[in-house]
């Protein structure tokens, strides 16, 4: 393995160091205390936002209502990632099934007990996304990790038996279309698309926040199924986990 030429090393370290210094200076010294601290909207503004959407979690109110468009695009990115994994891995053909080393009975029993709890926690966090920290993304990832635990401990076949190929593909695609349709439905009611259609409700209760709950649920479903589909494809075309 040849070493990188000395010029490259010097240039690399030098430019990177200079970059860090320049950016830090841009943050530190050009304005006392950072003017953005004063200029960003104050609490009253956020209270107004929360009141308008009905969600007490302001972060949810922002990314699922005011800036819903960005979230929609990012769900599309996620969907394309899942499709891309499928498309590129299916080119390689099926791998031979690798003899999986059975886990000890302690792990299997524990996984059997933990799996429903993990899924429940995932659902809880998804559904309460507009009241406490959480939301569709975190809840979906938690539920997906639960499935991954089951796949490692109990074997991928056991999990794949529950979530057949067609079911998971259909669910995932359905979740994406569901999100797009919920975004477009306000047109039928004369409102702008991507606006919050359902009533705001009493803040702090589950039934508040309008369509934020709907989006959280659909996104949670999508992330959950999507992460499982990715894992399944990797296993199908590479062997076992």
């Amino acid at each position: 393995m040849r070493r990188a030429p000395i010029g490259l090393i010097l240039a690399g370290f030098g430019l990177t160091a200079a970059f860090c210094v320049v950016v830090l200076l841009g943050f530190g010294f050009s304005a006392p205390q950072g003017a953005g601290v004063e200029r960003s909207p104050d609490v009253d503004r956020w209270i107004e936002v929360a009141r308008q959407t009905g969600a007490v979690n302001v972060v949810s109110a922002i990314y699922l209502d005011a800036r819903l468009f960005d979230t929609l695009l990012e769900v599309l990115v996620f969907a394309v990632a899942v499709l891309g994994v499928r498309f590129y891995l299916t080119a390689r053909g099926r791998a031979e099934p690798v003899e999986s080393i059975p886990e000890s009975s302690v792990v299997r029993v524990a996984a059997n007990i933990l799996l429903p709890l993990i899924l429940l926690v995932g659902i809880y966090i998804t559904v309460h996304g507009h009241i406490s920290p959480g939301g569709g993304f975190s809840g979906g990832v938690i539920a997906g990790s639960g499935l991954l635990l089951a796949a490692i401990a109990l074997g991928t076949d056991a999990v794949a038996a529950r979530f057949s190929r067609r079911l998971s593909d259909r669910l995932e695609w359905g979740a994406l279309l569901g999100i797009l349709l919920v975004a477009a439905v306000p047109i039928l009611f004369g409102r702008a698309p991507l606006s919050n259609l359902l009533p705001a409700g009493i803040p702090g209760r589950i039934g508040s926040g309008g369509s934020i709950l709907l989006y959280n649920g659909l996104i949670g479903l999508k992330v959950f199924i999507g992460s499982w589909v990715i894992v399944r494809h990797f296993v199908d075309h590479r062997g076992d986990i």
């Binding site: 490259l8 320049v22 304005a31 200029r39 599309l76 797009l180």
Partner: protein, 512 residues
């Protein structure tokens, strides 16, 4: 409302395309038809008076995402639509999976959003979506060289977008807003601050990786040359322009005049130098894309209305004739079996007539033969460039373009046999028609007063002189090959060059 319906409908069609197998093509046609109606409505709204402004979801501008349907946005949306038509036509008979069409819909839908958006973070998400869709399209045929080219593309673009995100952080830290209008107002109130220059260099450095500027977009030759012809046409014609549109929006907010002109001259000349010495037709087209972006940057940087509108006009023209060239060259390479220019010239009689005509039209367009697309746009651009240094740079780039394309001449003069498929002929006619009839098309982009530059004699003299000088230089240089550094296209050096480019922009901004 049309502003948000346009991408939403596209994305819906994209989502539906995966489910259906055989009807993907019909969905493509349907999507294009629906888009045409929506675009026409937006154009009517624009012609009627004020451009349509929409804050998505009905929130006020400070928090929500603002979309403005102005003339520039509509022009590029129409370009995206037109290239979509060309690609759907060209690939009509190819056995493409529905996955391809989903990516195509995603690409065009994302372009519809980027041309209208006035929000920095929305631009970030869309640019990342464009990166994803185009890198998946480059690797579509799953050949190892394509995979490597697209992986390099992905790594460099992801790096660039991280710079962009850091730039957003700097801007938010100092202004508290992500909306370009509000940021512009705050910068205008205090133009000399240091953070403006840092933010501008981070943002511009990030977008420059996607926009086809020489130092930053070193992934471009490999990626565009190795992809499928339809994909190369889309990349060179559309995706690069999206980066350029974002640079344009940034240029309205930050003081980047000098930076853009210097960058433009660099990329224009360096691209041409590489284009002259390559004998792979697709790499020639890719390097020439790098160089033509130089025109656009010089135009944006010059500051006069004529230069800016001329640059945008040229962006549309370039989209049309570069896509035409890539499609025609793709077909020719497929028939002959190679993209080596010398082999193509040897086998030139096997290239069908329609392909040859398409090559002729495209080449004439790119070298600026009056009255085709390139000439018209360059004339408007030139009329706005007052310092002679800029004018000389543009002239030099034109000469270089003529030199690099003079190699193709033997290919154009041949006795062709064979017919192309009807869908290829349709695609060529669609794009070629746009190139030939560009003057009436420009009337929609450029006001009549500026368009008068296209029928004044200095423009004609310049155009013909550039072509003749180029032909002469080509004769001189023909038998003197020279070596150019190739290491910069590898990934480590590429990253270093991007960093160096960031510093170049930063230093240039100090003089703004």
């Amino acid at each position: 409302m049309g502003l948000i319906l346009l991408p939403l409908v596209r994305f819906l069609f994209g989502g539906l395309s995966i489910a259906s197998g055989r009807t993907s093509r019909l969905f493509g046609v349907l999507a294009l038809a629906v888009d045409a109606v929506l675009l026409a409505r937006l154009a009517l709204a624009l012609a009627g008076g004020a451009p349509s402004v929409l804050v998505v979801g009905g929130w006020d501008g400070g928090l929500g995402i603002t979309l403005v349907g102005d003339r520039i946005g509509l022009t590029f949306a129409a370009l995206a639509w037109g290239l979509g038509v060309a690609v759907v036509l060209y690939t009509w008979k190819d056995a493409l999976r529905p996955y391809f069409f989903m990516l195509l819909h995603l690409l065009i839908g994302a372009s519809y959003v980027l041309v209208f958006t006035r929000d920095l973070f929305n631009a970030y998400v869309i640019l990342e979506l464009l990166t994803l869709a185009s890198f998946l399209l480059v690797g579509y045929e799953r050949r190892p060289r394509q995979i490597w080219a697209s992986l390099r593309y992905l790594i460099l673009c992801s790096l660039g977008m991280s710079f962009f995100l850091l730039g957003i952080a700097v801007v938010y830290y100092h202004t508290g807003s992500l909306d370009l209008a509000e940021i512009s107002a705050q910068i205008a109130a205090d133009p000399g601050s240091a953070w403006v220059r840092l933010a501008a260099s981070l943002l511009i450095g990030g977008v420059a990786v996607k926009a086809g500027i020489f130092l930053f977009s070193l992934w471009l030759p490999a990626a565009h040359a190795r992809a499928m012809p339809a994909v190369s046409a889309l990349l060179s014609g559309l995706v690069i322009k999206m980066g350029v549109v974002q640079l344009f929006r940034l240029s309205e907010v930050f003081p980047v005049g000098l930076t853009f002109t210097v960058l433009g001259m660099t990329t224009g000349l360096l691209g041409i130098v590489y284009a002259v010495q390559t004998y792979d037709v697709k790499k020639l087209l890719a390097f020439s894309t790098l160089s033509q972006i130089g025109y656009l940057l010089i135009g944006f940087g010059a500051g006069t209305a004529a230069a800016r509108l001329g640059a945008l006009d040229y962006a549309v023209a370039h989209g049309l004739f570069k896509a035409l060239l890539f499609l025609a060259v793709g077909e020719a390479s497929r028939i002959v079996g190679t993209s080596d220019l010398r082999a193509l010239i040897l086998n030139r009689n096997s290239i069908p007539t329609a392909t040859r005509v398409a090559l002729i039209v495209g080449t004439l367009g790119i070298v600026g033969m009056p009255p085709l697309a390139g000439f018209a746009a360059k004339a408007v651009l030139g009329s706005g460039l007052h310092p002679t240094a800029f004018h000389a740079a543009v002239a030099l780039i034109s000469v270089g373009t003529a030199v690099s394309f003079a190699k193709i001449l033997p290919l154009l003069a041949a006795r062709s046999s064979g017919r192309s498929a009807w869908n290829h002929i349709a695609a060529y006619s669609w794009l070629g028609g746009g190139v030939v009839l560009f003057l009436p098309l420009s009337a929609a982009i450029v006001p009549r007063s500026l368009l008068s530059a296209t029928w004044q004699w200095p423009a004609y003299v310049e155009a013909f002189a550039a072509i003749l000088v180029g032909l002469g230089l080509h004769r001189l240089l023909r038998n003197r090959p020279f070596q150019l550094p190739r290491r910069i296209f590898c990934i480590e050096e590429g990253t270093l060059v991007v960093l160096a480019g960031f510093f170049l922009v930063y230093i240039l901004l100090q003089f703004a």
